[in-house]
Amino acid sequence: MSESPWLLAALWVGLALLASMISIRTAISVALIEILVGAVAGNLIPWVGTLIGMPAKLEPTPWINFLAGFGSILLTFLAGAEIEPDALKKHWKPALVIGFVSFLIPFLGAMAAAYWLLRWSMAASMIAGIALSTTSVAVVYAVMVETGLNTQDIGKLILACCFVMDLGTVLALGVGFANYNGWLVLFLGVSAALMPFAPNLTRHFLHHYEGQVSEPEIKLMLFMLFILGGLAAKANSEAVLPAYILGLVVAGELRHHKETVYHIRVAVFALLTPFYFLKAGALIQGSAIAQGALVILLLLLVKVAAKVLGVYPMAKFFRMDNRISMYTTLLMSTGLTFGTISAMFGLSRNLIDSSQYSTLVVVVIASAVVPTLIAQKWFQPQHELSEETANGV
């Protein structure tokens, strides 16, 4: 690859542009397409380079790693900020129980399968457990919007459960591999001191500065994210932990400031997440997928089976009928963003190797697609067509 950062940037942004166009044409999420484009380019470029006698690689440089890391932090922050605090308050009891159990059982199940069946190391097995215990709130939300369930109580409950599960994931990443030293104490201390004031501080900035072209309210949030993320990194914890919690804490304030959230999203989707998702794809080794097809199938089955074991009885306990219980279970078996974040966390800290990373990311992608298709095909709850009558538009 060229050493010029601009040409390298042009290559990555060119791939992001290609992914956007494919996404628009196919109505498949740009995140998923970016991973796939990254995977194809990451495997094709070295092959073409060898073919024409010019060795080349789609290798992330330090600045690409920074943008990708920044993207993952803001993705996690937005994921936390997207919660409906009222729905979580209303359904906190079943959400906490279903969310916790449906995180714990897949976590233990996938970890056990990786450790005993695949003979992965304990650390790699933990990463597998975390990556495969995740649920994609976004995939669930999209299905809810399509079926109209997002406005109903059952939909809000399912979404609240997903937020609890995501919290489990970031806690596991943040606490499971941290160094228990002074930095961790400092990180926890600063977090404990800052979090209670974050909503008021954010409200103050939003009230006084929203609409200013220099966007001080967004800079305040970035400042808090970097301070907490930096301290978390010093403790060998993970910056996505404080990012998610900060998102949850300020969600109530941001809910009334859609313009600010829109501005953050524009910056994130245009500039940062393409680097994150393309990188997540570029690190996938095609050869590892071909050799590990059976392992991929096994881990996918383990993930779905563990979710069935964890979620289905809980859903029945909370008096959902069979169809809705199975529908909820399958939707909670989906994973994407947090799964790839977990796998990349493991790879960047050498807890898993490239081959294990490739396996985990492919399982995560498959888990976004397969359970959704099954849920929509065979278990979609009967509902009145969710019509937004447009006669008043």
């Binding site: 994407l336 959704t372 538009v393």
Partner: protein
């Protein structure tokens, strides 16, 4: 053959407005009810909730303008147009609405994708012609 309930597919393209002219003409000739449906397709397997929210907002904006124009076109011909906006897969949602409301004619515009795209993805037109439980008029 008489048509009493006509459904028109409105996606905001010029093709769909051309189809609307035919639908309005048929509604006048048969004194039929005329409805139009716009389907918001949210991205499949999104990475963030924001991706879904943005896509939905963008579609809302596009369809609001398209429906205003469509309603005006129909009014000029003395037809009251009933508009529906639904979320979901285009073909599946339109077919479900036809079944639920008992439409006897679907009028759609021809969407010109590339041959490769149609071969790989299958076109909305093809899907509707194949699956709609009523007569389908594709206007080119």
């Amino acid at each position: 053959m008489e048509y009493k309930k006509i459904l028109h597919g409105l996606d905001g393209s010029e093709g769909s407005f051309k189809a609307l002219e035919h639908a309005v003409g048929l509604a006048n000739r048969y004194d039929a009810e005329l409805h139009t449906i716009s389907v918001e397709e949210v991205p499949h397997y999104p990475g963030t909730v924001g991706e879904v929210v943005e896509a939905k907002q963008a579609a809302n904006g596009t369809y609001a303008k398209a429906m205003q124009r469509a309603r005006q076109m129909a009014q000029e011909q003395g037809i009251e147009l009933q508009c529906h906006v639904l979320v979901g897969h285009e073909v599946k949602t339109i077919v479900e609405l036809i079944k639920e409301r008992g439409f006897d004619l679907l009028v759609i515009g021809f969407m010109g994708h590339s041959r490769l795209y149609d071969r790989v993805m299958g076109s909305t037109c093809q899907g509707l012609v194949r699956l709609a439980p009523c007569a389908v008029l594709v206007v080119k």
